[in-house]
C-alpha cells in the first residue's frame, strides 16, 4: 500500500520549481526581471531575491543560504525543497504525506555565456520484478545560454541544452490543464535550441526540440514551439502560441492565445490561456481538442496571495461527455524570503452536470528555497 500512496501523491501533487506567472505584470514585466532563466523558474537574480523579501511577511535575508555561504559574482547557487500533506479523493479517499521535490541549481557566467544546471530527485520506477525502486538523481535542465547583453535582462538570448520550451503562461502547478494537456507536462523537458528576444514591451521565444535520446522525457517528440507576448500597457498583455510535436505514432499541432490584466486598485491579476489542438494519429483519427485555464489572483495581504482558477479540457470536442472541468482555490503565504506555505484545493468533474464521477484534493504544501 505504501508504494501506491507514494505514486498517487506524485501524480496529484508534484510540482516543479517553476515561476509564478502571477507575478508578471503585478510585480514586474518579464520573467527575467526576477529569474536567471529566460523562461523563469529556478534561480532568482538579485531583483528576484529583493521581490522575495518584499512580498514576504517576515522578510529575512533572501540570498542563498541567508548569505551564510557567499559565492563569487560569477557563480549562483540555489535549490528548492517541497513537501505536501493532505486529503485526496479520486473517488477513493486517501491521506497523504510525502516529500515532492529536492532540486539544486548551479549557474556560472563567463562574458556572454552562462551554464545552468539543475539536479535532484526523479520519480521512482519499477524493476522487472515489479519492485518499486528509487531512481538515481537526474538533471532535468542543463543548458548553455548566450546573452547578447549580459549586463541586462533584455535583448537576444540563445539557449542550447535540456530545458522546457517556453510556451504559454507556464504555471508552476503541473496539474493545470494547459500544462498537463497543453504541451508542457511535468518532466517534459528535452534537448533543444531556443532563440529568444526579450524587451519590456514584448518578448518572443522559438524553440526546436528533439525526442530525448539520453534522459527520460514524458513527451518523446520532435518538434518546435513558438510563443510571443506583447504588453499593451504595464498592466495588460496578450500572447500567441504554436507548437508542433511529432512522436512515433502521432502528430499534435497546437495553437492558442494568452492574456493578462492587472487591476492595480484591488491588486487582482486576471490571466487566461486557451489552446486548440489537432492530433493526427497514425492508423486513423484526428481529434480536435480544447484546453483552457483561467486564474484570478488576489494579492490580499502582506505575504498572502489567493488564487481562484478554472480549467477545461476536452480530448475530442466532437464527442459529448469527454470534457473535464476543475475549480481551484489556492492560498499562498510567503512567510519569509525563503519559506512559503500553500493550501491547494481542487474540485474536478467530468462533463459537468452529467452525473459522472468527480474528484478533488486539499493539500498543505511547504516550499523552502535555499
Amino acid at each position: 500500500m505504501k508504494h501506491v500512496v507514494i505514486a498517487l501523491a506524485v501524480v496529484v501533487a508534484a510540482r516543479t520549481a517553476a515561476a509564478y506567472p502571477q507575478f508578471q505584470l503585478s510585480k514586474d514585466q518579464t520573467c527575467m526581471s526576477c529569474h536567471i532563466s529566460p523562461s523563469g523558474g529556478g534561480l532568482l537574480n538579485e531583483n528576484g531575491q529583493t521581490v522575495a523579501e518584499t512580498i514576504s511577511t517576515y522578510g529575512t535575508d533572501p540570498a542563498f543560504m541567508y548569505n551564510k555561504v557567499p559565492t563569487p559574482d560569477w557563480l549562483q547557487l540555489g535549490g528548492d525543497l517541497r513537501g505536501a500533506w493532505g486529503y485526496v479523493r479520486t473517488p477513493q479517499n486517501y491521506l497523504l504525506g510525502i516529500p515532492m521535490q529536492a532540486d539544486l541549481y548551479a549557474s556560472a557566467v563567463w562574458k556572454n555565456f552562462r551554464i545552468y544546471l539543475t539536479g535532484g530527485y526523479q520519480p521512482t520506477y519499477y524493476d522487472v520484478d515489479g519492485n518499486q525502486k528509487f531512481a538515481p538523481p537526474w538533471s532535468r535542465e542543463h543548458y548553455v545560454l548566450y546573452s547578447q547583453d549580459p549586463g541586462t535582462n533584455e535583448g537576444l538570448f540563445v539557449r542550447a541544452g535540456r530545458f522546457m520550451p517556453v510556451f504559454g503562461l507556464r504555471f508552476a502547478e503541473h496539474d493545470v490543464f494547459t500544462r498537463e494537456y497543453g504541451g508542457t507536462p511535468l518532466y517534459g523537458e528535452t534537448y533543444g535550441v531556443a532563440i529568444e528576444y526579450i524587451e519590456p514591451k514584448w518578448e518572443a521565444h522559438v524553440t526546436g526540440f528533439v525526442k530525448d535520446p539520453i534522459v527520460y522525457s514524458i513527451d518523446p517528440s520532435n518538434g518546435a514551439a513558438a510563443y510571443a507576448e506583447y504588453r499593451l500597457t504595464s498592466a495588460a498583455s496578450v500572447g500567441a502560441e504554436g507548437m508542433l510535436q511529432v512522436t512515433d505514432s502521432d502528430k499534435r499541432l497546437r495553437g492558442g492565445v494568452t492574456g493578462k490584466y492587472y487591476l492595480t486598485g484591488p491588486q487582482v491579476l486576471l490571466e487566461g490561456e486557451i489552446q486548440f489542438v489537432n492530433q493526427q494519429i497514425d492508423g486513423g483519427g484526428a481529434p480536435n481538442q480544447l484546453v483552457s485555464d483561467a486564474l484570478a489572483t488576489w494579492f490580499a495581504h502582506d505575504g498572502v496571495q489567493i488564487d481562484a482558477g478554472l480549467g477545461f479540457y476536452d480530448e475530442n470536442i466532437r464527442i459529448q461527455g469527454l470534457g473535464r472541468e476543475y475549480a481551484d482555490l489556492d492560498v499562498h503565504w510567503y512567510t519569509t524570503s525563503h519559506f512559503e506555505a500553500i493550501l491547494y484545493s481542487r474540485f474536478e468533474t467530468i462533463a459537468f452536470g452529467a452525473g459522472a464521477l468527480s474528484s478533488g484534493y486539499v493539500l498543505l504544501m511547504g516550499h523552502y528555497r535555499l
Partner: protein
C-alpha cells in the same frame, strides 16, 4: 466596475467551456485502433511520469506507447506482463466489461490489495471507458497477437491464428488442443 470586469471574464470563460462541452455529438465514431487507444486516451490519461510511463512502468504496465499498450493487453512482449487479476482474462471480447483493463477503470480495489480505481488522480470519462470496451469487443485490433511470439502465431478463445505484422489476427491455423493463455496455445 472592476468587479464587474472580473465576474464578466469568469462568466465568459465558463460559458465558452460549457458551450464547447455541449457542442459534441453523441455518435462515437472514433477509430477502434490500438494507436488511437494509446495516443488519444491512455497516454494522456494513464501514462504520466510517475504512473504507467515507459520510465516508471508502474506495476508492469506501460501505457504511453503503442508497444506498451499491446503488451499490457496481451500480457506478452518486451515489457513486464500485466499483474493480472487471477482468472480474469487480459481482454475478453465476449464480455469486455470483465476484461482486466476495464475492471481497473470501473471497480474499486479489483485485486483486493487496496489499490483504488484507476486513474488515481481523476476518473476516466465514461465515454472513454465505453470506447475501450468497444475496442475490446472488436477483439482489440492492433493488439490481438504478438508477431514476435514463437511461430509468429497467437490465439484467442482457443483459435490459433497467424499473427500479422500489425498485431492483428491473420489466417486461422487450428484450434488450441487444451487452452489459450497469454496469446499462446497451452
Amino acid at each position: 466596475m472592476r468587479g464587474c470586469n472580473v465576474r464578466g471574464m469568469r462568466l465568459a470563460w465558463f460559458a465558452v467551456a460549457v458551450a464547447v462541452a455541449a457542442c459534441g455529438t453523441s455518435t462515437d465514431d472514433r477509430p477502434l485502433t490500438v494507436q488511437y487507444v494509446t495516443d488519444a486516451i491512455l497516454r494522456p490519461t494513464c501514462g504520466g511520469a510517475a504512473c504507467h510511463s515507459s520510465f516508471a512502468t508502474n506495476r508492469g504496465y506501460v501505457l504511453d506507447t503503442v508497444d506498451g499498450v499491446r503488451s499490457a493487453v496481451l500480457g506478452t512482449g518486451g515489457q513486464l506482463p500485466l499483474v493480472g487479476l487471477g482468472s480474469v482474462p487480459a481482454y475478453d471480447p465476449d464480455n469486455p466489461g470483465n476484461s482486466e483493463m476495464i475492471r481497473w477503470l470501473t471497480e474499486t480495489d479489483p485485486d483486493g490489495k487496496g489499490i483504488g480505481r484507476m486513474p488515481y488522480d481523476a476518473p476516466m470519462p465514461n465515454e472513454d471507458i465505453r470506447f475501450l470496451e468497444n475496442w475490446i469487443a472488436a477483439a482489440a485490433p492492433g493488439a490481438q497477437c504478438d508477431p514476435d511470439q514463437p511461430g509468429g502465431m497467437g490465439c484467442n478463445n482457443m483459435d490459433l491464428h497467424v499473427c500479422n505484422s500489425d498485431w492483428t489476427f491473420g489466417a486461422l491455423v487450428m484450434t488450441c488442443p487444451t487452452s489459450c493463455s497469454q496469446g499462446l496455445c497451452q
